[in-house]
Subunit: 433 residues, 3 copies
Amino acid sequence: MLAENNELFDWVATLFPICRSITGDGLRQTLTFFKEKLPDMKLKEVPSGTKAFDWEVPNEWNISDAFIKDEKGNRIVDFHESNLHVVGYSTAIDKVMTYRELEPYLYSLEEQPDAIPYITSYYKERWGFCLTDSLKKQLANYPNKKYHVKIDSTLKPGFLSYGELIIPGETDEEILLSSYVCHPSMANNELSGPCVLAKLAQWISLLPERKYTYRVIFIPETIGSIVYLSKHFKEMKHRTTAGFVFTCIGDEKEFNYIPSRDGNTLADRALLHVLNNHANNLKIKTFFDRGSDERQFCSPGIDLPVCSFTRSKYADYPEYHTSLDNLDFISSDGLNQSLEIYKKVITLLEANNIYKVDVLCEPQLGKRGLYPNLSTKGVKKELSSRMNFLAYCDGKSDLIDIANKINVDAFSLMEFIDELIRHQLIKIRDENK
Amino acid sequence: MLAENNELFDWVATLFPICRSITGDGLRQTLTFFKEKLPDMKLKEVPSGTKAFDWEVPNEWNISDAFIKDEKGNRIVDFHESNLHVVGYSTAIDKVMTYRELEPYLYSLEEQPDAIPYITSYYKERWGFCLTDSLKKQLANYPNKKYHVKIDSTLKPGFLSYGELIIPGETDEEILLSSYVCHPSMANNELSGPCVLAKLAQWISLLPERKYTYRVIFIPETIGSIVYLSKHFKEMKHRTTAGFVFTCIGDEKEFNYIPSRDGNTLADRALLHVLNNHANNLKIKTFFDRGSDERQFCSPGIDLPVCSFTRSKYADYPEYHTSLDNLDFISSDGLNQSLEIYKKVITLLEANNIYKVDVLCEPQLGKRGLYPNLSTKGVKKELSSRMNFLAYCDGKSDLIDIANKINVDAFSLMEFIDELIRHQLIKIRDENK
Amino acid sequence: MLAENNELFDWVATLFPICRSITGDGLRQTLTFFKEKLPDMKLKEVPSGTKAFDWEVPNEWNISDAFIKDEKGNRIVDFHESNLHVVGYSTAIDKVMTYRELEPYLYSLEEQPDAIPYITSYYKERWGFCLTDSLKKQLANYPNKKYHVKIDSTLKPGFLSYGELIIPGETDEEILLSSYVCHPSMANNELSGPCVLAKLAQWISLLPERKYTYRVIFIPETIGSIVYLSKHFKEMKHRTTAGFVFTCIGDEKEFNYIPSRDGNTLADRALLHVLNNHANNLKIKTFFDRGSDERQFCSPGIDLPVCSFTRSKYADYPEYHTSLDNLDFISSDGLNQSLEIYKKVITLLEANNIYKVDVLCEPQLGKRGLYPNLSTKGVKKELSSRMNFLAYCDGKSDLIDIANKINVDAFSLMEFIDELIRHQLIKIRDENK
């Protein structure tokens, strides 16, 4: 499985150099890459100026070059070296300026002198350069030195692009899987998210049976989810049983669980159960620690059951939103571990049902080989878990509830459940709500 | 503001010497003082013998003099030196007695040898003197010494007096503000209570607008609240949204919050929010620590939403119900701090509404200057509080709820709320319940 | 009371030698003993093969002798020395075998080399001997030695026997009291249970009045409760207000409370209140620690409000299910203490009502001698408990609730309640649910 082990990392590495933004050709190129992996995915375009709730699709931004050249013609800041050097959505400029004149357009991080910060200005026209603070300090020594400053960008009516894949299941109850594709060259936030999601979607497509329909979307963050919701909210509101935002899942540090606004939806219960049983070093965050598209999915009136987990969490790790969030920051193992967690979440959601014992009193497991028929002093934990499971098959609790109550991993019960169903000792309640 | 700073203390000092009880001229004199401060207040009288639920208004008690004179004619215990020397509601006596005969009528505190205790016997006819235990021990040395013992009091049909001020508001939903005026010369318990309440009522009267109507009452404790409820319970039951009992708010020691019986009424939520954000050294007590008229306001079947806070709490501080609870025990600062707390509680109640975001998804605050339009790494706490506030404007939570959930002082949100309303991004839900 | 003090222990000692099982003459003999104590009890018999939910009454087992004799004819394992020596429900055998051949039929406990384990095989035909591990190790030294192995038992269609006593009360709401009588010579588990129950039933029969009807059953464990429920479930479901399983209540070690599946039934609340106030060293267990007939009574669909307490709890003490659970393990004091706890539980259930104050505001207790009429500084805990009790007589809380809320033993309120009822200050709400 070494091939698969590196596949996710290779995807990230392939996409890393592209200059993405919330619109533009970098975004299109990234979506095209994922369409190659998921041929049924549809690429969609929404024109600039389209209203979406309180927002409006902005003009499309494209950029081909940008630099700050010194008097000798050396590119001391070069877009082709790092696309983070340009403030996202910068308008075009082509001018000779002294450092003193240029300084208000420069962004750096005093506390991280070797990092290029990631800065954007989608909704106010601006231009600017991002650079390391150590370079900025050098330039500041010669305030009257002159520089050729150029940004070769366009900002004009165009489109906002996104990808949408519906993987049908037996019912039209849906699982929403969402990631974003609008960040330039950064690895954990964001390329880990859409790459793991694409790989997971491939795996879901191959499942022999699916109770749920899966709605998989690759969107620009914030404006993308707002635009998407403005088009699909009505159907999503009725169908969405659980949803997850894929972001910051590429490294190997602690796990962070970020609950939905409600905090106790099926999505929360499934994800938290899997994390509690399969993630080392789990931190339980609050909804106040949210920061991605769950901001929209969980907003009042929308209220979709959407939560997420991360490894190093946006806003919390020093490399976040800088050039230090690069390919060294993540790993094949980190990506693959996150994929495994999400596979387990999907497996658990598919297996999760409300069970009801179909006999009164305890069934006689012994005669079916499901319990020893010689009584002795001690009872093994696995056997007492069986009796405890049955004690809560009351037609009210689902598998996740029961596993939590009896303090076992839900996966450890699945085989026993199959046996119980085979012997007609339990049945599944119709509504899975 | 120095003038105001001492005003409350001066009021207490003026009222301190009066010999109040649950009926009588001392009570009338005190109510007249407050009527001068609150000209719209009505003074009311209820005749002795009037039934009130399980109780009956007792006879009116008045006293002009009382003493224990030794054989040389020296007043060794003198009502004019401290009105605490006489057991409240003592019947008249005029008799020469040996110490041995007198002793059963003497009350002192062994553990506080220099304090005169405060004792009453409203519902059983008795007479008695209260004195310091050190004096009592001296007298006990000469059991056969004779004394002239006199109490010049009357106990006969008359009236129970109280004051009632209704400050009208836009709605007839009411805030009940209650204090008691039946204790003789003691400062923290009780004069701090009615004086702060009178000052607060002046301030409320001058508010430019009031959502609520305010019912302000100055009553004798227990019998006064029972009599008042027996007359006004029906209207109070429908109208009372929140209520507070003003007592023991004159010194500068710890704050104590005493919940209502329900524990989670609007009164509790508003008071506790203000105390949590503005009171140092707050102790959360239970309903079992109650001790004033909330005993009646919260009794089963009455169940008004009434709670209170104190500084040094009745029954808990050694000086309580003794001559040591004097003007030295309280301070201008203590009184003014309590007034400020109650002003904040009223302000919060008036500002408290259930808000609902009036757009789907997050509103675009940036275009209205309410959020930065340049994205950077860190977000200031104030800005994330704004987004958190909006996330809970769900039409279910009121301002207090939201501020508690997102862990900020409600007062820090008020300006932002005004902006949101101005921009029609949130609206107030009709019912404020 | 010395007579009574030893009576329970004497009952256990009398019953100890009998070889009981889930059917058979030992069971009948034990039930006959209890019928002598409780003449109104009915003895019932259910034929082998009777279906009961997922189970079936097995054949009846009887045994007269069993041994392993060495070549010299010495009984080295002798049923008449301890009936634990034979695996319960062993089929007959009469054979000469080498130790090597015999070994698969021998059961011992390596960690408890001097204990004979208690083993049964009710639902699979087997035979076997239980012996101390030290004896087994000795025998193992001579694998080729020959032994005469004999079990003189019968296993054939017959009956399952149980006892049922209905003690009528004013209503047909029932308290279920259940214990089991299927274990051979062991003292704490099980003879303590049925003996304490029989004694309690005698005491209940003599109560001057009973609000509840009592259903007292002596059954074989598991199959007995399943058979009993299959016959009586419908009426029990409607009538059972609370129930308790009597087991492991003979020694003097810690108390263990084992909640019902629901965890907050009237049975739980009454038992826990009594234990919290009257049991030293109480351990709160969970429903997962259950192990006796509450497994059936609390199973989904049955859901009777049944819980229990134990001293040394089944499965938790080393002597459990071995020959070491003998008469030395229990004591007269242990048995009598458990009886007292259950008497208190019954007393509390009979006294438990929902009370409602019948006046508005606090009643004037002083004029009825129920509160001092001289006001002083400190109020005794007993008096403040009285006011707290009244504050919760709100027509919603029952005695147990209120006592828990105000943190007193319910028994300390009973006299005061009688006074309040006499003075018509409180009344009992009709429904006791």
